[in-house]
């Protein structure tokens, strides 16, 4: 490369980076040689620069010897294009101008690479730590748990500004290649400026298909990711996010907790059954209450009907207003306790749950049984292991409730049927969302 060419490249790169405080341009001298370095110090690991660049620079005396060093070090790459150089510098690489050569030194700082404890999907037994916020560390975590030659890692970039690296992991022997193709198409179809975390993908699946239920799963557990790799799924890791995205995700996966494989067979099955029971309870309970108290009290046995009637004695408005009132109160309570700092959270629950509930019944605004129904519904909702799915379930209960207001018990059943039909109609990256037995 001619020296004037190098000079022009150097100038244009310098020009592109406005004079920020953290932009560093430094010249290093010895008697024999002369080196120019350009980097952004806030995203650059200066300790690495010290070991890989500055020390050898002063230790290797001959100018020729240092050139050989630069050409053969695995962390140092040759110049490719101006655009590529700029991109690398933004992400933390250092540009080296030495004689007539330009090199790129990979000194990207690997920040936030400490592993975080699981907080969303906790289990009693089994591994307790989740992913970190660093992409290489996360890939390392998965490779550790999944030491197979067939594990493939492909890299992509998403986001027009953030230009986030996204890695696709799959077991090339187990995965359905059609699924991989669909996932890639999906990722490259995303038009977004800032891509920060895998959870954002959820939003995109919804906008494309207007789906209520999540067709991809976000997890913070490396063990879950490894298990899913073995099941032939594609894992998407996003730089800077401690969550992995698993695709395709079907109903079965959303109801499974990692605790199931850390338990004996029957306990696992029992827990699974319990979860489905909770799912049905939380979806139907408010609707059933309206249907049974306002349309079909004959369904209860006489003793129960009379006690329900007695409990609703003082309530001055129809059952569906009562249910709406309590459900909205419950939702507010839930939202509030998520937003609050951890220290105040329990207080909000106590004030909201215990005191409000107690006072509402005492004042005759809602019936005793209503309080039981709302709390039982909320508790059941928490049993669902995957957070995104539990939100979807929270919404679907309003659908059933609305139907029960207009059609009574028949409405509840029709609503359940419709929900099942809707789930069956969904696809997740080519896999049916809900089936009994998958077809090959």
């Amino acid at each position: 490369m001619a020296s004037n060419q190098v000079q022009s490249i150097q100038d244009s790169i310098k020009e592109q980076f406005q004079k920020s405080d953290d932009v560093v341009f430094k010249e290093l001298h010895t008697n024999e040689k002369y080196l120019e370095v350009f980097y952004i110090k806030t995203i650059c690991d200066e300790a690495q620069m010290q070991t890989y660049l500055i020390k050898p620079f002063y230790e290797i005396i001959s100018a020729r010897g240092f050139l050989h060093y630069l050409q053969s070090h695995p962390k140092i790459a040759q110049y490719e294009s101006k655009q590529n150089t700029v991109n690398e510098v933004i992400q933390g690489a250092a540009v080296l101008f030495y004689q007539e050569n330009i090199f790129l030194l990979d000194t990207k700082a690997d920040k936030n690479n400490s592993v975080i404890d699981t907080t969303v999907e906790t289990t009693i037994l089994g591994p307790q730590s989740g992913f970190s916020e660093s992409l290489p560390t996360n890939i390392g975590l998965i490779r550790n748990r999944y030491p197979a030659l067939s594990l493939m890692i492909e890299s992509m970039k998403v986001g027009t500004i953030s230009n986030t690296s996204v890695n696709l992991l799959y077991d090339s022997e187990k995965v359905d290649l059609d699924t991989v193709k669909k996932v890639k198409e999906f990722l490259s179809s995303i038009k977004i400026e800032m891509f920060q975390s895998g959870e954002q993908l959820l939003d995109f699946t919804k906008k494309n298909q207007r789906s209520l239920f999540p067709t991809l799963m976000v997890t913070e557990r490396p063990d879950r990711s490894a298990v899913n790799l073995a099941a032939g799924k594609v894992i998407v890791l996003v730089a800077g996010s401690p969550f992995a995205v698993i695709m395709p995700t079907v109903m079965k996966d959303l109801m499974a907790s990692m605790a199931d494989i850390y338990q004996t067979f029957w306990i696992g099955k029992f827990l699974l059954l319990l979860r489905y029971l909770a799912l049905v309870t939380t979806i139907t309970l408010p609707g059933l209450y309206v249907a049974l108290t306002s349309y079909n009290p004959e369904v209860f046995r006489v003793q129960l009907a009379l006690s329900v009637a007695g409990s609703r004695h003082a309530v001055p408005y129809p059952s569906f207003i009562e249910v709406f009132l309590m459900l909205i109160m419950m939702e507010l309570l839930l939202e509030a306790s998520i937003r609050l700092p951890k220290a105040i959270g329990p207080t909000a629950t106590t004030v909201g749950g215990l005191i409000l509930g107690q006072a509402a019944t005492a004042a005759g605004l809602v019936s005793n049984i209503m309080i039981i129904i709302v709390s039982l519904g909320a508790i059941s909702n928490f049993v669902i292991p995957i957070n995104t799915f539990s939100f979807a379930v929270r919404i679907s209960k309003y659908f059933i409730l609305a139907l029960s207001i207009f059609f009574g018990l028949v409405g509840v059943i029709i609503g359940l049927f419709m929900l099942i039909a809707y789930m069956v109609s969904q696809d997740s990256f080519g896999k049916p969302f809900l089936t009994l037995k998958e077809e090959n």
Binding site: R301, I413, A421
Partner: protein
């Protein structure tokens, strides 16, 4: 054992379940002293025979439904005639069970809710389900059967073990077995088997030949269904008085008590389960009708055509429910049940000879 043929089994079982609500027991009970038992046995033989013939025909076209088969070569007017004719037939099949069940719900659960309003709720669900791909309709059928059949089985067993089921009444009917079978009960009883007919579209999912073990299963299950659905009401309500009830099975379910459950009356459990069964049964029938009609126009993806078709289906249903009470629903469904029997025989003979010559 059953393997991938289970889809075929589901279609047959679905019809066995719906027979209870579309008046089959009621009509059969009318013939209880008049050749019922021999008629039922004859119907079993005929039903299984037709089923076997039909599966032979369609086994020649693995993975293809009637519209695709006819596309292979048949002159256009004839093709349209066949498809539209069958489509209309399947539409009526679904409509009769739908209106019948809405009538039951209207009488027993929500007498003050208007039938049209109730129908609209059903139509919304049906509209969603019938336009799904055939594969998905089958998945839904599988799930709905799995969720409901155990409970329906429970109700049957509860009825069978009831103290009030008088076996002497049942035997009294059996003593009249030696009477000549009649055409009407044969035709009506054969409805229990006619679920196989849906194969004309659902053959798309059947890639393998149906194994004979399926027919053995179907034979025993259907015989059991046919006899229990007629004889349990007779045992519960007496051989002389049972014909007074319009819905013998609803009355039978209401005569069962669950002493330890918060829902004491079995009839509500029964009705709720049958909402699902009716919905899926009508979905399957209308899906067949819908797919057959789609075979008529070339551009399969045409959304406007599909919407027009759907509007036609729904319009007709609402019209029917408005005039339902004046049409003598019980009579209509009896005539339909009998007509269905003959159309089925003609269609299968037609398939058998015609589809063999082609290809």
């Amino acid at each position: 054992m059953v393997g991938k043929n289970r889809y075929f089994l589901y279609l047959v079982i679905l019809n066995m379940l719906t027979n209870v609500i579309i008046f089959v027991p009621k009509y059969l009970i009318q013939y209880r002293f008049d050749g019922l038992i021999l008629s039922m046995l004859l119907a079993t033989v005929i039903g299984i025979g037709l089923m076997y013939l039909d599966t032979i025909v369609y086994a020649r076209f693995p993975g293809q439904g009637l519209p695709e088969i006819l596309d292979l070569g048949l002159n256009k007017p004839l093709k349209i005639f066949v498809l539209v004719g069958f489509s209309f037939f399947w539409f009526i099949a679904g409509l009769i069970s739908l209106l019948g069940y809405i009538d039951i719900l209207h009488r027993i659960i929500n007498p003050e809710l208007s039938k049209v309003w109730l129908l609209v709720a059903f139509l919304v669900v049906l509209g969603f389900v019938i336009q799904l791909p055939t594969r998905k309709v089958m998945y839904l059928l599988e799930i709905i059967l799995l969720l409901n059949v155990p409970f329906i089985g429970f109700v049957f067993i509860k009825a069978l073990t009831s103290d009030y089921l008088n076996w002497d009444s049942i035997f009294e009917v059996v003593t009249h077995a030696a009477t000549v079978p009649k055409l009407n009960p044969v035709a009506i009883a054969s409805y229990v088997f006619s679920g196989y007919a849906n194969i004309i579209v659902f053959n798309r999912l059947l890639k393998e030949k149906i194994k004979s073990i399926n027919f053995v299963i179907i034979f025993f299950v259907s015989l059991l269904t046919l006899f229990t659905s007629v004889f349990i009401p007779i045992g519960m309500h007496g051989s002389d008085g049972v014909q007074e009830y319009i819905y013998p099975w609803i009355m039978t379910a209401d005569s069962l008590r669950l002493p330890y459950s918060p829902v004491e009356r079995v009839v509500f459990l029964f009705l709720m389960l049958y909402i699902n069964i009716t919905l899926i049964s009508v979905s399957v029938h209308w899906h067949v009708a819908f797919e057959l009609m789609k075979g008529v126009y070339k551009s399969k993806k045409s959304k406007t055509n599909n919407r027009l078709l759907m509007a036609f289906f729904f319009g007709l249903s609402i019209l029917a429910v408005l005039r339902f009470d004046f049409m003598h629903p019980e009579l209509i469904s009896m005539y339909w049940l009998i007509a269905r029997f003959f159309v089925e025989i003609i269609a299968i003979i037609g398939f058998f000879f015609f589809l063999r010559r082609k290809i």
